[in-house]
Symmetry: C2
């Protein structure tokens, strides 16, 4: 359980002469929830630009214009607890971005969800990368569970968009696999200093979904049905599927 | 650097009366390298059946018919060092399995490499799963680096099989993505108690490769050339590509 501050607002700083207070120009009293959110937001910003092991509690305190003891009042578990709270906040935000309006062709919906995803990746950069790469000192069974929650939410959301109530093991494997491809592609994108145009990457991922669904359809009637439905919804604009077919013409 | 024993053979047990020696029926003196390999083999077997956090140094000692101090003589860093040595051994073994003879059609070579991979996954079960899932207490930057080495070797080997000398970013992304799909599929396979027939999974992965390459070919001339070459090598037997084309027929 997270230790939460019990006071209704920041504790007053220890009685001191006015001088040191004036030196901390950014130090302000904030309501409890607001301060907590501020600390998390500041931490997320720092984790975005540096790997977690290079971000200290002092950095967070300084960037938030707060004292180290104050940060500890909110996060008694220190950096690990702050990291996990920040990760949970980021995970909730990412999950909310999967919710794209169910309008337009399926490929347009998929593209919109991917745009939201890549915007998130760009914002969280170093933190996202460290987390998914593994081996970070702040990684624990708890942080892995948070990441798994996001993957599960992505799976559920994708299946709902596909109009599937009960997915069999192969359709589930298809969607999970495609999500792994999305993750890998976003990491490669960061690795290469975002030099690959993100629109091209997004379109590549949409095409991957169609192609991977087609390969799965050869092994699974449920996926075949879902794919046929998607292609019908794409309508006369299923031009990407047509191109895919052409490229598969054996020489 | 790993601490290595400096003696040429197991240290003689501390001077004791014969009675306690007789109680340890399995205790034998082994040459240094042989003992080291035996301890690693025993550890790998234990890590295969239980998550790493549930395997203690005492378990390894007992299963090896050795004393705890003896295990420490070989692995002064304790369980973490033993785990990393075992992981390195497993990684080398897995990498060697990627080397399939370059005979037969491309899809047959891919299938052979996948058979080797799944056999490895089946042997290492719990250890493989814990490692790739992340968040394990024994996971460090060093263990992640070992896993990354294996992925790099798989990438290199696959590109060589494709006859590619210098892969551009999109072809690299394709192969990396497919490797991620293979990993995810093998984890799902373990998760579901190996109920999905492994032959079907292997064939699905071969089809995924063709489909993912086709989708990438739409975005990248180098991949288009490689795919055309592969389909030509498959020859009149490129029937899977033909099926893939058929399933992509828009309704």
């Amino acid at each position: 359980m997270e230790a939460r501050p019990t006071t209704a607002a920041d504790p007053a700083p220890a009685a001191t002469a006015p001088a040191p207070r004036r030196r901390r120009a950014g130090y302000r009293r904030l309501p409890v929830e607001q301060r907590r959110e501020q600390l998390i937001a500041v931490a997320l910003e720092l984790f975005a630009s540096r790997p977690p092991e290079e971000v200290g509690l002092d950095d967070v305190a300084e960037a938030a214009g707060a004292s180290r003891p104050l940060v500890y009042r909110y996060f008694a578990g220190g950096k690990q607890q702050l990291y996990e709270a920040a990760l949970r906040t980021a995970a909730d935000e990412l999950t909310s971005r999967f919710a794209v309006p169910p309008t337009g062709r399926p490929s347009e919906q998929l593209a919109a969800a991917l745009d939201g995803y890549f915007a998130f990746v760009a914002e969280h950069d170093a933190g996202y990368s460290a987390l998914l790469r593994g081996g970070s000192v702040v990684e624990t069974a708890r942080t892995s569970a948070i990441v798994d929650d996001v993957r599960r939410a992505a799976l559920k959301r994708t299946l709902r968009h596909l109009g599937v109530r009960e997915a069999g093991p192969r359709l589930t494997l298809l969607v999970r696999s495609w999500i792994a491809v999305v993750e890998g592609a976003s990491l490669s994108w960061l690795d290469e200093g975002r030099t690959l145009p993100v629109d091209g990457l997004r379109d590549w991922l949409v095409d991957q979904f169609t192609a991977m669904a087609a390969a799965t359809a050869l092994h699974d009637p449920q996926t075949a049905e879902v794919l046929a439905g998607l292609l019908a919804l794409e309508g006369p604009r299923a031009d990407r599927a047509e191109l895919l077919r052409a490229v598969l013409e054996a020489r």
